[in-house]
């Protein structure tokens, strides 16, 4: 691609940082290209719910900071002071936070700017971004298909080059699945790695702010600025943030990866492509071994469904329509359903004195133990990110557990609080849709994800942006 045809919005975050440092272009020029792209495509794709005013000036003002004023798109369930935060619900249509979430505060302190707020399934309750109160988002790779969810707007923003990188959140799969469906890198950090303060809460015991980026390097770089202990989040990890980009290029030969869920029949089509991934990893000197499925991942769906709904019911109690937001009757059907089913899970004891929430948390322990056992044999484990390619627009309607089923391969690592990285591992020539590889590491070992992920990315043709030069 010749320089004269280059649109600056097509760069990766790293390429943009370097370009600014080398004075190849200015913040104003970069913002102009981003704004032009947004103007051309946002209406059709429905990616951004709101855009920050004065982005160019704000960006220029941060020129000397580490992140040089570069803009980031932010999922609209992450509170941004003075910028409307709706969680894609009409209940919060008029809500403008008087506080900043910790993750955006940290990124702003490093000199990033907020480009705008992206669409999601309302309250993050979904895996399609079809259940937003503000209309569905389309998959930029092929607009007849869904971008996935709930961070579908954040995924589409990056996939369409409307944003350099974006923030998302994952509770049961909501970063990695849309990243896979849109052909991007999706990072769900270890639970507690990034502060939940300011995130509209869903399931407090699994909610994890994270990133959707064009490359593994961008995710490694940005995580360093986002992560860290926060006294205002009671489950924030005390381990300090790292400069994870220093992991890139470290040797990977000799690492051992366990391949999960390869023996599940429903994954036959996808597993063929993951077999190719195993071959490619082996060519890098990594040992890949298929692991017979122990606990059925469908059981993780059951755990996640109950735990999430119970915690959602508790968390959405704060929306009383008195201090902020519209009345509780404004909740959409999906939110009402989850609140009710969650309340039932918390309030019930059946004949055998089982409380469903407690029972789910016992089964959760089984999954945690199984991963601990796996990590005595393997450095990492991997699976397909999604059981399928992106699905067509309209499929999520009237499917009661659509979200939870789509995220089957991700829920085990979510309930265990493990870090996971999804990266593109195949692209269909006809549909232009991608498949994602899901790498999972022990809690706190994002370094291994970046090391192996970047090596894979560097040695395969699946990343659209890597060789932009």
């Amino acid at each position: 691609m010749s320089n004269s045809a280059r649109q600056l919005n097509q760069f990766t975050f790293r390429q943009a940082l370097d370009g600014l440092a080398e004075k190849k272009f200015t913040q104003a020029e970069l913002v102009a290209d981003l704004e032009r792209a947004v103007k051309a495509q946002n209406q059709a794709l429905n990616v951004f719910l709101s855009l920050a005013p004065n982005l160019s000036a704000e960006s220029e003002a941060q020129a000397e900071r580490p992140l040089r004023g570069l803009p980031l798109a932010v999922k609209d369930n992450i509170s941004t002071r003075g910028l409307k935060t709706t969680a894609a619900s009409t209940l919060l249509a008029d809500f403008s936070p008087a506080f900043e979430s910790t993750v955006t505060a940290k990124l702003k302190a490093a000199g990033a700017t907020i480009q705008g707020k992206t669409n999601l399934d309302a309250w993050a309750h979904g895996s399609s971004t079809e259940t937003s109160d503000y209309g569905r988002t389309l998959n930029p790779r092929n607009p007849a298909y869904l971008p996935g969810g709930s961070s579908g707007g954040s995924a589409a923003a990056v996939a369409a080059n409307l944003a350099l990188a974006s923030l998302g959140t994952e509770t049961g799969g909501s970063i990695r699945q849309p990243a896979a469906w849109c052909g991007l890198v999706g990072l769900k950090p270890s639970y507690g790695r990034c502060s939940r303060f300011g995130i509209v809460p869903m399931a407090s015991s699994t909610d994890s702010p994270g990133l959707l980026t064009k490359t593994v390097e961008d995710a490694a770089l940005l995580l360093g600025w986002m992560a860290g202990f926060d006294e205002r989040d009671g489950t924030s990890l005390r381990t300090p943030s790292e400069r994870w980009e220093r992991q890139l290029g470290k040797p990977v030969a000799g690492l051992k990866v366990g391949w999960l869920y390869h023996d599940l029949e429903e994954l036959n089509e996808v597993n063929e492509k993951i077999e190719s991934v195993a071959t490619q990893l082996r060519s890098l000197g990594i040992k890949v071994e298929p692991v017979p499925t122990g606990l059925d991942p469908r059981l993780a769906i059951a755990v996640y469904t109950l735990v999430q709904r119970a915690e959602v019911a508790s968390n959405l109690a704060r929306f009383d329509g008195l201090r902020y937001g519209r009345p509780r009757t404004t909740f959409g059907a999906e939110a009402k359903r989850r609140i009710l089913l969650g309340t039932y899970a918390l309030a019930t004891r059946d004949r055998s004195e089982h409380n469903p929430y407690e029972l789910a948390q016992e089964v959760r322990t089984l999954f945690i133990r199984e991963f601990e056992q796996l990590f005595t044999q393997f450095d990492l484990v991997m699976s397909a990110t999604s059981p399928s390619f992106a699905k067509k627009v309209g499929v999520s309607a009237d499917s009661a557990m659509f979200g939870e089923l789509e995220d089957m391969l991700l829920e085990p690592s979510c309930i265990a609080g493990l870090p996971g990285l999804s990266l593109p591992c195949y692209r269909d020539q006809e549909t232009n849709l991608s498949l994602g590889l899901n790498l999972m590491a022990p809690a706190g070992r994002e370094d291994l994800l970046f090391r192996v992920g970047e090596a894979y990315e560097r040695n395969t043709p699946w990343n659209s942006w890597r060789n932009n030069d």
């Binding site: 008087a98 407090s204 015991s205 709904r309 109690a317 008195l322 509780r328 009757t329 909740f331």
Partner: protein, 98 residues
């Protein structure tokens, strides 16, 4: 699940439901009950629940006012649907005179 049970749960959740909504929702409990039945097949005898992953319990902080972490009154009221002279306006709870 009977509609009356659904309404009882809705009352617990302070979630007013129309009769039509209650009717639809009463049919959707089936799927949750199936999920619970599935969990009951797992070998959880003697297994402790994991409620959250950090292994810590209550975190405490000093009982000191930190203005930088608090709203002032204007900020606190900034999204109030109804405010009056520095107060949140709430629905009447007490119907009769004390």
């Amino acid at each position: 699940m009977k509609q009356s049970q659904v309404q009882a749960i809705a009352a617990m959740a302070q979630l007013p439901l129309s009769a039509a909504e209650a009717k639809v929702l009463s049919t959707q409990f089936k799927e949750t009950l199936a999920v619970i039945a599935q969990l009951e097949t797992a070998p959880t005898k003697g297994v402790a629940p994991t409620y959250q992953l950090t292994g810590e319990y209550n975190r405490w902080r000093e009982d000191l006012v930190r203005p930088e972490l608090s709203f002032n009154q204007a900020e606190a009221l900034s999204n109030a649907p109804r405010a009056h002279q520095g107060y949140f306006v709430v629905p009447r709870i007490l119907k009769s005179k004390p």
